[in-house]
Point group: D2
Chain length 259, copies 4
Amino acid sequence: MAVRAVVWGENVHEQTDRIVRELYPEGMHGTIAAALSQDKAIEATTATLQEPEHGLTKARLAETDVLVWWGHAAHDKVDDAIVERIQQRVWEGMGLIVLHSGHYSKIFRRLMGTPCSLKWREAGERERIWVINPGHRIAQGLGEFIEIETTEMYGEPFAVPEPMETVFVTWYEGGEVFRSGLTWQRGAGRIFYFSPGHETYPIYHQAEVHQVLRNAVHWAHNPAKQWTSVTVGRNIPTDKAREKLIEKGPKLASHAPKG
Amino acid sequence: MAVRAVVWGENVHEQTDRIVRELYPEGMHGTIAAALSQDKAIEATTATLQEPEHGLTKARLAETDVLVWWGHAAHDKVDDAIVERIQQRVWEGMGLIVLHSGHYSKIFRRLMGTPCSLKWREAGERERIWVINPGHRIAQGLGEFIEIETTEMYGEPFAVPEPMETVFVTWYEGGEVFRSGLTWQRGAGRIFYFSPGHETYPIYHQAEVHQVLRNAVHWAHNPAKQWTSVTVGRNIPTDKAREKLIEKGPKLASHAPKG
Amino acid sequence: MAVRAVVWGENVHEQTDRIVRELYPEGMHGTIAAALSQDKAIEATTATLQEPEHGLTKARLAETDVLVWWGHAAHDKVDDAIVERIQQRVWEGMGLIVLHSGHYSKIFRRLMGTPCSLKWREAGERERIWVINPGHRIAQGLGEFIEIETTEMYGEPFAVPEPMETVFVTWYEGGEVFRSGLTWQRGAGRIFYFSPGHETYPIYHQAEVHQVLRNAVHWAHNPAKQWTSVTVGRNIPTDKAREKLIEKGPKLASHAPKG
Amino acid sequence: MAVRAVVWGENVHEQTDRIVRELYPEGMHGTIAAALSQDKAIEATTATLQEPEHGLTKARLAETDVLVWWGHAAHDKVDDAIVERIQQRVWEGMGLIVLHSGHYSKIFRRLMGTPCSLKWREAGERERIWVINPGHRIAQGLGEFIEIETTEMYGEPFAVPEPMETVFVTWYEGGEVFRSGLTWQRGAGRIFYFSPGHETYPIYHQAEVHQVLRNAVHWAHNPAKQWTSVTVGRNIPTDKAREKLIEKGPKLASHAPKG
């Protein structure tokens, strides 16, 4: 069965800016979804900020294996209730791929527990993304590096927790570096952050970027039974303990329910 | 200079429950602060939920090296603005020690990015805390294990991110296990979670527990210059790049400020 | 294509001890291979210490996706050249599953870089293996725990590097705990250590243990192009640099080749 | 009490090459030890390959808190028995700082369990070492980066295990990147790798490099009671179990001592 990916696009620059619209007439989300769909083992659809519930109803998220997220100008417009819903699904096992300016999205900052701040410069400089972990699923089919001719610089320190794995590190023409591909786990969900993707450059038209995104969808997909009880604290009564127990010790007069 | 520790106590059970008040006439926070103060290199004070701003004003947090947190019945009563203030200080470099039922506190869940759920049983059973990492600062002066005769069981799975280090793992009489001492870093701040500490048992009167808490304060203390800019995204103009750059590529018509 | 697993057995106790032979008439390796083969997506064969090159020729290892290792009485009899060959294959991408007393095998200690020491007791006590990471591939199809009625105790501290993931933690009847399922990566190779498996008990006849082993084979399998150059240091001449470079600075009179 | 650091130098190029001798008339080890000694809290001495037991007798290592290692041309000349002795001390709690071409030293490769290979180019290009973890002890007193005008390029992929922390990442004039400051733990010992330091350049005369080395000595110092039993497997007899146990199950006819 194909991996069910939803590409979420903020879809603001595409509506308001001629440059972006000309580059991405289908929206960045549309271009990315088309790139994913080149792989028959991925079934990619799109959702946008402007749709009801941002296109991410409970029912749809329940049937999503991997969510791809691009946002920039309207992070604050994303409804907190939807963000909590996404976070719950990540904990349960849905994969999440956060792109470029999504580093400041509500969902990414909540999952990281850190500010996710960084430096930036919009000078259209060259970026060379080095493969640090050549055996990693996300690096399959790539050479030693990817070059992007015109990119926005994102510079360290990138205020995220130590990653599980460093997949890519970027060299910039202007002299900075960036950990451009990082992975984490939160609950049963796998998270990948990939930094290239400024809206005024044709980065999501580049074949190697497509390859990374398809790889990432497969990597982030956790086919395990979803961990739906991940938020549930659970009391184990004394008579259900696996070893014979005799209760002892004092208790609160009125023991309030917990969890 | 001594490490400045603030022991924060929710201070609810101590007011409402006779059992807890008799066990901890100074409050659990008072007992813990006294235990820390046995070490001349620690300067421990207390703060509670009931004080203005929960005793954690901006000025006080600015002069706090390590915050110790015990809460249970009133997590929801903790003001979100104060939680954000604490989180900011952790990112900047303040250490945080989260005790027992504090696993469900707002501050811990925000820093972890996960539900922090677990199983529990209040049967007064025995707990044996094994030292997993004998060279760790937090395990100094302990033997191979600590035994607590009367404890609340906290069972796996504990829904937290993979820790940086597993310091302790607990064996319970009733048949469960728990990763009872775990560390993480968020920004420049070090975080330690330690599971024993149910309010109706004399756990915070036990000498080995005092030793763990004093060790943890020293471990969590980051004497580095505080990373006060940790939340600040910063633009690096092209003419400030370390390497000579010539701008190229299109830009948004109206480039909105970012970060 | 099925995952090609080789189950390596030391095959000493099976030859010298009546108890072990009666429990495992096909050898422990034979029993394990049969358990793996119940999954049509795994193609399992065996190899033993007594075969030429311990059954692990260069050609065979080149066609092995995952190696499963059980040894105990004869770690020192394993030829160093074969150990190096295995290590090279792990670095290239071959998975490695180390069982029980294999914690002291040459290959495991070399890959860990630590003593891999632990405590033990042979009292036939009960072990309860708790699932710590319910969304992990290796825990699929299991309940909250596995109980093994008669086991050898392996106790902490287990002198291994911090794992990438803690999948299982064991509770023992006699009062100890053990991180019984741990993962690491070395080069492109994934490593899983699983502690149950004493030779005089029927542990490898237990269905849940079979499930863990099959899961682990799938998890350890890295289908990526093998990283065959992993040991190769490589000079990048100045005229092959991606950015234009002009050499400067002094050099050794006689620059010795390096790497 | 001051941290006792031993700076180990291979001391070959200094003897055989005029360029190196002129740059480092006291040997690179001598220059580094002098830089460490500028900090009154560090007591630095030197040892070299040519001394009996390479200057690293059992007695001396027993009194060493942190060992700093520089080698290049003669890794194979280092006696395996001495390497094992160092490894044992690292496991017990001695810190280890591995410099530059020491990535291929026996001691580093043994502790990592990986090939530690990389790319390189000797073109005297510029290196900019970015601070990734500004709150880290090793980065104290530095600005956002260190620039080294004339360096040897070391390029990714660097075949080491995922680090505990990424402290520095380097940008190179020729277009590569490198994780130039990484940390790990092995047993109770802390390990830091720092990549700059080619023998024909004045890198160890640079003030910021001195600062990094002094910081690293303090970070690597583990004042805990040394874990001298780290290699000792230990049997816990049934009657010494913390919980009452009744032995059951079969045993080997002749139970061989283990561990």
